[in-house]
Amino acid sequence: MAGDPNILKELQGIVGEEQATSDKHIMYAYSYDMSFVKNKLPAYVVLPENAEEVQQIVKLANKTKTPLIPYVAGTNIGGLCIPEKDNSIVMDLKRMNRIIRIDEDSRYAIIEPGVSHAQLAEELYKRGLRFGWPVGPPSASVLACAICHGIGGITGRYGLNSEQITSMEVVRPTGEVARVGSCAIQEDSWHSLLPLPLLNGLFTGWLGTTGVVTKIGIFTPAIPPEVEIVTTATDTLQDMYKYMLQMGRYEIADDLTAVSWWLSQVPIPYPYKEKPKDAPEWNSYAVLYAYTPKELEAKLEMFEQTVKDQQKAGSSLQVTQYPEEARRARTELPSQIVGSTKNYSKEAGGGISWPGTFTPANRWVDVWEKWRDIYTKRNLSPSVRVTMYRGTHYGMLRAMTPLNKQYPDQVENARMAIVEALQVLLDNGGIPYKPPVDFWKEIFDRADPGFVQLIQDVKDFIDPNNIMNPGKLLYR
């Protein structure tokens, strides 16, 4: 048994004897995820069922100055739910799994943290609605994805999943419940954060260090009846970038993404494998949804014009035929098949991590060339993805990095590649998302001191005892 028996007893007093434990083998199950982040055992795991129980646990953590880590599925690949400090409580929120309401007219859903992509997908589909399903496992938490700036299959049209948040209920680190957005004014109205001050910013992107989000409203757009996936290939990222720049300008794709040859393999080759000489280095897909055949026709016409323009300018761009499974993987989300397990890490086994970043598109090529060197020198596949975000020419730039967790030296090799890649990225103006602690050091080394101080001041203000996921922001 780990931990202080008195704290365990108090936790059991809040949630019931069977819903809190200090058994070491259970602590072990919470000590790792699929990332390179080093294991650390918590001392307690507790399974609250509602916000009231969350409040009591938070108050207990304050009273005993015990670190508290919110957890749902543990599927992030930044080690965000692995404790940094000794004697931590992991608060597993998976029992809070209610879809409270789906407002079909206003197109939003109110959900608890334990609602998985699979669970919500079933209910939304019945109503002709969708969400930005990521390529993660169907078991992953919708709420956790949204508040950690996750992305999904509709990022080109609607933006990040955090941008789909319409309201929020939070248990603050000091135990008070707060609502932000329209639900703060009218209990049953979860449609919008605006025009109120964007207080959701205190809890979004903070990696569980500023409170426990117990409910969110999320925008759930309609599923358009028409869809076509257009695919292209180029010899260089430079050519692919120019194509994506033009396509991105039209804002016609729900998802506009390109992947390096290594990422287009199923799974990612591990260790590094040479690309066949005749294979294009980059492949792209653009998912074009439309409400009428005419709308789709117009979008396809714009795509064809883009291809013509690029080819006329001397690009190596070619229109390609995607394998059927790959085409389906673009729209049939959430999916067990395209999740990080099968496509990405199956050959390596046991783990995957990334330098996952938001980066201006005009820096992609410079970063890619350096990343390719870093990865190949470490005998790892440079399996890189770039995605345009809504209405802009910046987007995701990330290298999916499989690793074999059975062998610590291989994990360390992957970690080194990722950190080196991040250094290059930061120097080129990119920003990592869902950053593990190793990343924060690199960020803060480069960041404006005023920004670093503000982060710490906000954290100190909102969490005076520094109990929420302490250490995840490096200095707090």
Binding site: E18, Q19, T21, D23, K24, H25, I26, Y28, A29, Y30, S31, Y32, D33, M34, K38, N39, L41, V45, L47, A73, G74, T75, D92, K94, R95, S116, A118, Q119, A121, E122, Y125, K126, G136, P137, P138, S139, A140, E332, L333, P334, S335, Q336, I337, G339, S340, T341, K342, S345, K346, E347, G349, G350, G351, I352, N404, K405, Q406, Y407, P408, V411
Partner: protein, 440 residues
């Protein structure tokens, strides 16, 4: 006879350790999900639903247990058996619901990993659990897990016209199994099987008192020595019956016997020598084949709405895994594909062939069926929880409007009826043969 069991800590290439370290902890195993369209989401892990913590949940949890048991290479922990660890290990029903979801190289090896950990517990003298030991001791003393005397095994046949295959020739051995023999509420399963066989005109015989447990129950607990003893006895009996009585088909009533003889006996070095010329079938398959050959037609109308519960050992447990052991196709140990050999459609077709029957599927079915909660020794050591879990399945069946649940496994049969009592439901479970007997 040599048995090629897989061990949790064997240091060989492509051992179980290689595979449970392939788990990415992604949690895909935790719920039954298909994109569709429409997408379907189903809770699939009884143990995880009940106990909640990671570690209890699905194959992700079992990989964690195995890593902890064999020492994590970073933490370098020294493993110690604790009552809590044993509880986590033995509250898994081994239903393979998680296995059906997993997409990585661990997939084909999930059940083997669970059973190898239990075998290690037995080897170290800490397993199985106290209540299980009664079962294992009974196997040792009586060749059955129910503490019933050997002499009582054939009691269910009293008054029935059944050929004694020890004395008379027949091509079909009806292997009734221990549950109908020793569990009175399930006795009708064997009685009605005989009745159906007689109505159809099957020439068959039974071993009577000489029948020996297949060994499934003790194998699931990790008691491999006891399993080997009864399995070797059975293989010798089967071979003798083939050579001396002309037996070429063994028909089992029990999904557990079926899976055990079909899949577990196969790891014996001499399996092929002993079973050459013998086919193992479950009654559902056997009767279905006769139906498709036009040997009978259900005639009697039954005005009833029913649903069907897939037993794990008859359905998703019966698979032919394709693994690239030598790395010639992908990489060493990679999971390539799976061929479903489970019995899913046969019982459904037989049910629907009965005039007047109305059939409604439960939300969770076939490979994504929900375990009744009886398997893996759970019913023996945690009977209240097993029944509580069965009550969830009965509730799901109630939602179909069915008047009866049909199944093909005596364990599911008994446990689902216990589950009905837990929720004061009038919905009862019967075996497929009981329904067919009424229709013939």
């Amino acid at each position: 006879m040599e048995w090629n069991f897989r061990n949790i800590d064997k240091e060989a290439e492509l051992n179980l350790k290689h595979f449970f370290w392939k788990c990415t902890a992604c949690g895909t195993c935790r719920s039954g999900y298909t994109f569709g369209p429409p997408p379907t989401f189903r809770k699939i892990c009884p143990q995880g639903q009940k106990f909640g913590f990671e570690g209890f949940f699905a194959s992700k949890g079992k990989a964690a247990l195995a890593r902890w048991m064999t020492s994590d290479p970073i933490l370098k922990n020294e493993f110690e058996w604790t009552p809590e660890y044993l509880k986590t290990l033995y509250t898994c029903t081994g239903c393979a619901g998680c296995q059906n979801q997993c997409q990585i190289d661990f997939k084909p090896h999930i059940i083997d990993t669970i059973e190898a950990m239990r075998a290690k517990a037995v080897q170290d003298g800490v397993g199985p659990l106290k209540d299980h030991n009664v079962l294992v001791q009974s196997m040792r003393n009586n060749d059955n897990p129910y503490t019933g005397p050997r002499g009582m095994r054939a009691k269910w046949m009293k008054g029935l016209d059944v050929k004694d295959i020890n004395k008379e020739d027949s091509s079909v051995l009806y292997f009734a199994g221990c549950t109908p023999a020793y569990n009175a509420p399930i006795r009708q399963l064997a009685v009605k099987t005989v009745s159906v066989f007689n109505k159809i005109g099957v020439d068959f015989g039974t071993l009577g008192k000489k029948e020996v447990c297949c060994g499934s129950t003790v194998l699931r607990l990790g008691a491999r020595e006891e399993f080997k003893r009864v399995a070797e006895k059975n293989l010798e009996i089967f071979k003798n019956l083939h050579d001396e009585r002309g037996v070429d088909t063994i028909v089992t009533s029990c999904a557990g016997c079926y899976r055990c003889i079909l899949e577990d006996y196969e790891i014996a070095d001499d399996f092929k020598d002993y079973m050459d010329g013998i086919t193992i079938k479950h009654t559902a398959d056997f009767i279905y084949d006769l139906y498709k050959e036009g040997k009978f037609e259900p005639k009697n109308e039954i005005d009833m709405k029913v649903t069907y519960h897939d037993p794990c050992h008859l359905g998703r447990h019966v698979k032919d895994w394709k693994v690239d052991w030598d790395g010639s196709q992908q990489w060493k140990g990679s999971y390539l594909d799976v061929e479903d050999k489970g019995t899913f459609e046969q019982p459904r077709e037989l049910i629907k062939a009965i005039p007047g029957i109305k059939y409604e599927e439960m939300r969770r079915n076939r490979n994504n069926s929900y375990c009744c909660g009886s398997g893996g020794g759970v019913k023996t050591a945690f009977p209240d929880w097993a029944a509580e879990n069965a009550a969830l399945r009965v509730e799901e069946a109630e939602q179909t409007g069915a008047e009866k649940i049909i199944t093909c496994c005596p364990f599911c049969h008994a446990n689902l009826n216990d589950g009905a009592k837990v929720r004061n439901s009038q919905l009862r479970t019967i075996d497929l043969v009981e329904l067919l007997d009424e229709a013939l």
